[in-house]
Each structure stands twice: as structure tokens, then as C-alpha cells.
């Protein structure tokens, strides 16, 4: 499909609509739409945008969408992507604002929360598998992966420190390899 402001907006609107479970699933959704269906970018590029987006301040889903939109069609692409992604969220909350409290009290809604939570975990792990194949490719990246995972699960350090550590280790490793 042709890359235009409209098609980018439409694609991200679809991604935004399916962005359930609080934004975690941005990577599997973008993989499905941009890499597999539209073939606008490669899985490797998307992993890079996600990794960078996740290490910058702000909401990760938004960072990733803006980054990807920029790569697709410059500033106009970035605006089309972020507006498309945010619009479904915006409309949903504006429409639901007045009945939010009643909605949450309904047992059936609680049951759907519970169910969707499982779908979100499945999508996350399928995304991990995809990202693993693009990012954990040698001894160095495996060491970074294991170290970061242990720190993220059991360490009492902030996530930004883990990211900064991985960046520094990556730079040092590259210097050593080039020599």
C-alpha cells in the first residue's frame, strides 16, 4: 500500500483501536500492521525504533509511534501516526467518562478485563520472541539481555539506569571489537 498521510493515519488508527491492556502491545500491533501486512519497514528496523522509543522519556507507545511515523514520512508522517494512534483512546474516554464508575462495577466488565489480560500476555511473549531474534544475536547481546532481565525483575534499580548501563556497555564493546 502507498505511504501517504492518510494511509499512515488509517493504519495507526487501527493500531490505536487495538491498543488494549495499557499500551504494552504496541510492538506486536505495529509488527502485524507495518511489517507483515503493509511491508513498510523491516522487523529489524521496528525493533530498533521500539528500543530507542522505550529508552526515551514519555509514553513508550507514543514514542514508538512517533519514531516510526517519522521514518515513514518525516514530520507529517509522525503527526499522522500519533494523531491516529491517540484518537481512539481519546474518543473512548470522552464517551465513557460519565459512566466510568458504573462500568467498572459491572461483573461482566471485570471478567473481560481478566480475559484481555491473558491476550495481552500472549501478544507480549510473541513480541519478545520476534524481538529476541533481531536483538539477541551474539554473546554480547545475550549477556546484556540476561543482565537486564535479572536487574529488571529482582534489582532495585530504575529502568532508566538499566537502559543507560546497556548503552554504555554497547559502546565499550563496540570499541573493543573494532580494535
Amino acid at each position: 500500500m502507498e505511504k501517504s498521510i492518510y494511509t499512515i493515519f488509517k493504519t495507526f488508527f487501527k493500531v490505536g483501536t487495538l491498543l488494549l491492556g495499557g499500551g504494552y502491545v504496541i510492538l506486536p500491533l505495529l509488527t502485524s500492521e507495518l511489517v507483515e501486512k503493509k511491508k513498510w519497514i523491516t522487523s529489524d528496523e521496528l525493533c530498533e525504533y521500539y528500543a530507542i522509543g522505550a529508552s526515551l522519556p514519555g509514553i513508550i507507545a507514543a514514542n514508538t509511534a512517533i519514531f516510526t511515523g517519522r521514518k515513514l514520512l518525516g514530520t507529517a508522517g509522525a503527526i499522522a501516526a500519533i494523531v491516529g494512534m491517540i484518537l481512539p483512546a481519546f474518543l473512548a474516554i470522552v464517551l465513557l467518562a460519565s459512566i466510568l464508575a458504573e462500568l467498572i462495577a459491572k461483573p461482566s466488565v471485570q471478567h473481560i478485563f481478566w480475559g484481555v489480560g491473558i491476550g495481552v500476555i500472549v501478544l507480549l511473549f510473541l513480541a519478545v520472541k520476534e524481538m529476541w531474534s533481531k536483538s539477541v544475536v551474539d554473546k554480547f547481546s545475550l549477556a546484556i539481555y540476561i543482565g537486564s532481565l535479572i536487574l529488571a525483575l529482582y534489582g532495585k534499580v530504575s529502568l532508566s539506569l538499566i537502559i543507560i548501563g546497556a548503552v554504555i556497555a554497547g559502546i565499550i564493546n563496540q570499541k573493543l571489537e573494532v580494535k
Partner: protein, 178 residues
């Protein structure tokens, strides 16, 4: 004045929340205490609601706070404010990256970043497994969908749709904790 306050507060969240997921929460609770645009209870409700409405919880909360305090215009201002820092920061970083892409240090940094990014995503998944009260049936569905996904990956809508329906049916018969 309220419009300006909404803008400043949610812009602040956009600049300082680091690490994604629920990183915005401490700031959102802080806003609840200081400005009373929403209560902590409403924020907790929103956390749950945002799992079945589109979008990250920070964006949902900004829209909600803006809407309840000052209608559509307020909700547009607050939502824009929480996203704007991302837009500025990503634009700058993306330009710098294009410029220094061939640089060895940048290449090394990205290699480290990608591996760490994959690890952080794994950590979120593992945490969710232990905090979601999956019980027996939920665990079985999780395994079934994971195995089917590893064999043949389907559209994300498939997994979300099946699991929502599963929750509705299993919950209806009170089988969740069974």
C-alpha cells in the same frame, strides 16, 4: 487559567515519566492529590478501564482529567500536553541518529539498547503473569494461545478477541477461581 494548569501538569508527566508502562502512575497520583481534577479512586478505576479501552493509561487519564474539569477543549489540551514532549524529544533524537548512524559508538549503543529493550519487554510479561491472578483456566488459555502463536502467528485481534470472550464466558459461570 485551568487550561494552562492542565497543560503544564500533563506536559510535566510526559517529560519525566521514564521506563513506560506504569511509570506515569506516581505523577498521576501526585496530580490527584494536588489539583483534585480526579480522585485516587478514579485513577485506580482508570487503570482497570484502560485495559479494555484503547491507549496507554497516561493518555487515558489526561483525557479524563481534561474532560471532567473543562470539557472537550480541556481534554484536548491535556491529551496534547502529555504527548508533546515525546514528539519534541523523538524528533531531536531521530535527527541526531540519522546524522551519526555510521558512528561506531552509536552502533554499539543501539546493539546494547535492543538487547536491553527485549529484556525489559520480557520482564513486563513475566511480571504480568504473576500479578494477573490467572488461576488454572487462565493459565491453560495462556499456554494454548502461546503454543498456537508459536506454531502459526495470527492477527493480534485474534488473541485479544478470544481472550475477552473467554473471560466473559468463564466469568459468567463463576469458573475463574475454580
Amino acid at each position: 487559567m485551568l487550561y494552562l494548569q492542565l497543560f503544564v501538569q500533563f506536559f510535566h508527566v510526559g517529560v519525566f515519566s521514564f521506563g513506560g508502562g506504569y511509570a506515569t502512575l506516581p505523577f498521576l497520583y501526585d496530580i490527584a492529590e494536588k489539583y483534585h481534577w480526579y480522585s485516587s479512586k478514579q485513577l485506580t478505576d482508570m487503570l482497570a478501564i484502560s485495559s479494555i479501552t484503547p491507549g496507554p493509561v497516561g493518555v487515558n487519564m489526561a483525557t479524563f482529567a481534561g474532560f471532567t474539569t473543562s470539557g472537550i477543549l480541556g481534554s484536548m489540551i491535556a491529551t496534547t500536553a502529555i504527548i508533546l514532549p515525546s514528539f519534541i524529544i523523538v524528533t531531536i533524537v531521530s535527527k541526531l541518529l540519522d546524522k551519526f548512524k555510521a558512528n561506531q559508538s552509536v552502533k554499539g549503543a543501539i546493539r546494547g539498547l535492543k538487547a536491553a529493550g527485549c529484556a525489559l519487554l520480557s520482564a513486563v510479561g513475566i511480571r504480568l503473569i504473576f500479578t494477573s491472578n490467572l488461576h488454572l483456566l487462565g493459565t491453560l488459555l495462556l499456554l494454548a494461545l502461546l503454543i498456537s502463536g508459536l506454531i502459526k502467528k495470527r492477527d493480534p485481534l485474534f488473541y485479544l478477541g478470544i481472550s475477552a470472550l473467554f473471560g466473559l464466558v468463564v466469568g459468567h459461570f463463576n469458573w475463574i477461581g475454580a
